[in-house]
């Protein structure tokens, strides 16, 4: 019976592998969600290669490249953050996670400038100015008449796909902010002793040694002016003390973030580099 009870208790714990399986399933659905759009892109680009070429000329490769570098870096820092927490280096984990959020924010700011510049030039789906502009392109012979739709579709897909991707970046940032808050709230393990009686301190010194007996630090010798000694330890919890909830949540957020990054790796060449 006690064996059963133990087994029941185990069941009530959070299933680490289960949570990760669930996350991977969710990532599959994300891939297929974008998959529909990539399918549209593939068909329309095959149908209107020249239209897409003309559309692609209007994108800012430099800004796109910067954003690619930013996202790639953020993927690295995300992975570093997970690696840090696996080693119990909580401060480092917090630093890398904050840096990742910052990268996401920078990406979004760049995106904002990019979009608003285009919208300022009246390049957006359904804009009459854009339709007229495309008509001009046809007259100038830049685009054959039957490829005209391609330019319009290019911008439709550009806004839809980078828009949906941007939304995912935002969601990822929110998820990371939640984890960050959790990490920050989780207290540092903290001890305080006052083990010494005054008379016993005379002529002693406090020494900190590592497990091999090597002295790391030692204090001055205590004289009669020392009334009492407080010893305060502040240290980051070792891996086994990291709450598994936080850990798997961070790892799952990391998985999500890598997917967001991966989608961008496809979006960047397909929109910015085709011309």
């Amino acid at each position: 019976m006690s064996a059963h009870a133990a087994e029941l208790a185990v069941h009530e714990h959070k299933d680490y592998t289960g949570a990760k399986i669930g996350m991977w399933m969710f990532l599959f659905t994300e891939v297929l969600l974008f998959g529909g759009l990539f399918l549209l892109y593939a068909v329309y680009r095959a149908e209107y290669p020249q239209g897409f070429h003309q559309g692609g000329l209007h994108l800012d490769v430099f800004l796109g490249a910067i954003n690619t570098i930013i996202l790639l870096t953020s993927s690295l820092t995300m992975a570093l953050s997970i690696a840090a927490i696996q080693r119990g280096q909580k401060g480092l984990a917090i630093f890398f996670l904050s840096f990742t959020i910052l990268c996401g924010a920078t990406f979004m700011v760049n995106k904002y400038f990019e979009w608003s510049k285009k919208i300022h030039h009246k390049i957006y789906p359904g804009s009459e100015a854009l339709a007229k502009y495309v008509d001009n392109m046809v007259e100038e012979g830049k685009v054959p008449p039957q490829q005209k739709s391609g330019v319009l579709l290019f911008f439709s897909l550009y806004y839809l796909m980078t828009g949906l991707h941007g939304l995912h970046v935002l969601v990822g940032m929110i998820a990371m902010a939640f984890i960050l808050r959790k990490l920050l709230k989780q207290p540092f393990v903290h001890h305080r002793w006052n083990p010494f009686q005054k008379q016993e301190l005379q002529g002693c010194r406090l020494v900190l040694e590592d497990p091999n007996g090597q002295t790391i630090w030692k204090s001055e010798t205590f004289d009669e002016t020392v009334k009492h000694v407080d010893v305060e330890f502040q240290y980051y919890p070792a891996p086994k003390h990291v709450h598994p909830d936080d850990y798997v949540a961070l790892e799952n957020t990391g998985l999500y973030w890598h997917l967001v990054d991966l989608i961008w790796i496809f979006l960047f060449p397909l929109f910015y580099l085709i011309s």
Partner: protein
């Protein structure tokens, strides 16, 4: 409580105290059994609503010419019938009800892998349904696109289609979360000794279905979002007047919606695979073949969507390939049918109420499936496309398949879910009415379709009149059968006798827990050491307290 434990009978999940009072004990519960029953109540309400729409459609078409409704109202009727039945009844369907209630118990688990996510998916279904119903009254007219929401009409009509498709999107999200939950449950929460090949076939079918749910639904999700974007953001990926291609809508829509019919029917096959051995007292024939055929239907079903679009404009090669793949998907289905019939061979068949539903499933689904092969035949489809033949085929597979299996499942697991028993004689009469009415309603539509009766038409030529007349009469018989059945079940729920833990002599794990099950399902975690359809223990127990009939059976073996 101490009384109950003293007798070693744990409290059932109904009696267990909840943190919330009244109805909140249900709608905020994360217990898979309560959520399963919530789903059952919810989707059966939608079914009754959709059925009323169907009743009105048939009433309108009883005679040629307009009868009761304006043509525009008729368009709205079949749209709402389709949307409610497909998105709110059949898609959540069996996985939501029995996948929740039965699957974890069959696997020997306490609950699904993510109980809170499970509750969220019920809420998403309810909110999605509310949004869909709200969309009916917030446009300048009722939705009239048909349940397929085809482009470009979906952006042109003044009905509130964006809202309706957003509701469908939420329902799809609910379906995704359910599928994600079940896959993780199957992988992580099987009891000790419950290997993959000791899982009941119902669990296998839910597992296969869950993969379709998560891999197909997102595609329609993005498609429906694009419909909304077309209306509000000015993009034009489907609308030809804005440079889009409406054919792409059809492709994306059917990439999901064809696999979706296997979301509907695979779990139904799972129920039948569980019912038949129980009432034959014989291990199922070809266990692995049935398990693998579920997986291969899920896989091949993903690749056949083009057969909905043979007349829409596609390359000849593509049409031939899609036609071939459509034939191919019939193979695993036939494997199942042959295995079920082989299980019946030399079994000691008991024609109890659930068994009647299961056997009529085989009959009706065979008709539905074989007419499906006819429709998958390229040249024949050019003739039959968009005729009432398609309507009949669809209802034979989905109502004759999914519907009969769902009702069979309700009759099969009713004693387990409620701890009560319905009147079985009445249940058999209800089945008979339903079966006769069903065939009378839909079979004439095959004949009318062969002669060219178009689907979704308000009016028709006089030569189709007899078919429609008898079909409408049939619908009345069918509906009275359904109402009689629900009445009988409700009566059983309120006044029924107390049911045994294992009234049918089932061999799977859910029959080893009390009826209704306790909150944690198993007081001691089960250890599985035999195949799912091994009836030797049950037969031994029966033979040790022999009834005259059992003795006869024994003599026969």
């Amino acid at each position: 409580m101490s009384q109950a434990t003293a007798q070693n009978i744990p409290l059932s999940f109904y009696e267990e105290k909840s943190a919330y009072p009244g109805i909140f004990a249900w709608i905020f519960s994360t217990d898979h059994k309560r959520i399963g029953l919530l789903y059952m109540f919810t989707i059966l309400s939608f079914f009754l609503f959709g059925m009323s729409m169907g009743f009105l459609i048939r009433l309108e078409k009883m005679f040629p010419g307009g009868q009761f409704f304006q043509p525009a109202t008729y368009n709205a009727l079949f749209t709402i019938h389709g949307v409610v039945m497909i998105f709110l009844f059949v898609i959540p369907g069996i996985p939501a009800v029995f996948g929740n209630f039965i699957l974890p118990i069959q696997l020997g688990a306490e609950d699904v892998a993510f109980p809170r996510l499970n509750l969220l998916s019920w809420w998403l279904l309810v909110i999605g349904a509310l949004v869909i119903f709200l969309s009916l009254f917030t446009g300048s007219k009722l939705p009239d696109t048909g349940w397929t929401f085809y482009a470009p009409y979906n952006t042109i009509t003044t009905a509130n289609i964006p809202m309706a498709v957003f509701g469908a999107f939420l329902v799809g999200f609910s379906s995704i979360l359910t599928g994600l939950n079940f896959i993780t449950t199957v992988h992580r929460l099987r009891a000790k000794g419950m290997t993959f090949f000791r899982m009941p076939l119902f669990a296998w079918s839910i597992y296969a279905t869950a993969w379709i749910q998560i891999l197909a639904t997102p595609v329609v999700g993005i498609t429906l979002l694009l419909v909304i974007a077309e209306r509000f953001l000015g993009v034009g990926v489907f609308n030809p007047s804005k440079s889009g291609d409406p054919l792409m809508y059809q492709h994306l829509f059917w990439i999901y919606s064809h696999p979706a019919v296997y979301i509907m029917v695979l779990p139904a096959m799972g129920i039948v695979s569980d019912i038949i051995p129980t009432f034959c007292k014989k291990p199922i024939f070809g266990y692995k073949a049935i398990a693998f055929s579920s997986m291969s239907i899920a896989f091949i079903g993903y690749l056949v969507w083009g057969h909905h679009m043979f007349t829409s404009g596609m390359a000849d090669l593509a049409r031939v390939v899609f036609s071939f793949l459509t034939f191919f998907v019939a193979v695993p289905t036939a494997i199942k049918i042959f295995n079920w019939t082989a299980t019946l061979y030399k079994g000691s068949i008991e024609l109890r109420a659930p068994m009647l539903f299961a056997l009529s499933f085989i009959f009706l689904f065979s008709i539905g499936g074989l007419t499906g092969v006819m429709l998958g035949t390229l040249n024949l489809d050019l003739h039959l496309h968009d005729t009432s033949f398609v309507v009949a085929h669809f209802h034979y597979t989905i109502f004759g398949g999914f519907g009969f299996a769902l009702f069979g499942g309700i009759h099969y697991w009713f004693p387990k879910m409620f701890g009560k028993m319905y009147n079985e004689t009445r249940a058999k009469w209800a089945w008979l009415l339903l079966f006769i009415g069903f065939n009378m309603t839909y079979f004439p539509l095959f004949l009318a379709g062969l002669e060219g009766m178009p689907r979704r038409y308000y009016d028709y030529l006089p030569k189709f009149a007899p078919y429609h007349f008898w079909s409408t009469i049939g619908s009345w018989i069918m509906i009275s059968g359904i109402l009689f059945m629900f009445g009988n079940l409700l009566h059983g729920l309120l006044r029924g006798e107390k049911a045994d833990d294992n009234p049918w002599g089932g061999s799977t794990l859910e029959w080893q827990v009390p009826s209704p099950p306790p909150l944690v399902n198993f007081t001691t975690p089960p250890v599985v050491n035999k195949d799912p359809y091994d009836f030797s223990d049950i037969l031994k127990k029966r033979n040790s307290s022999p009834t005259p009939q059992d003795q006869e059976d024994k003599g026969g073996q």
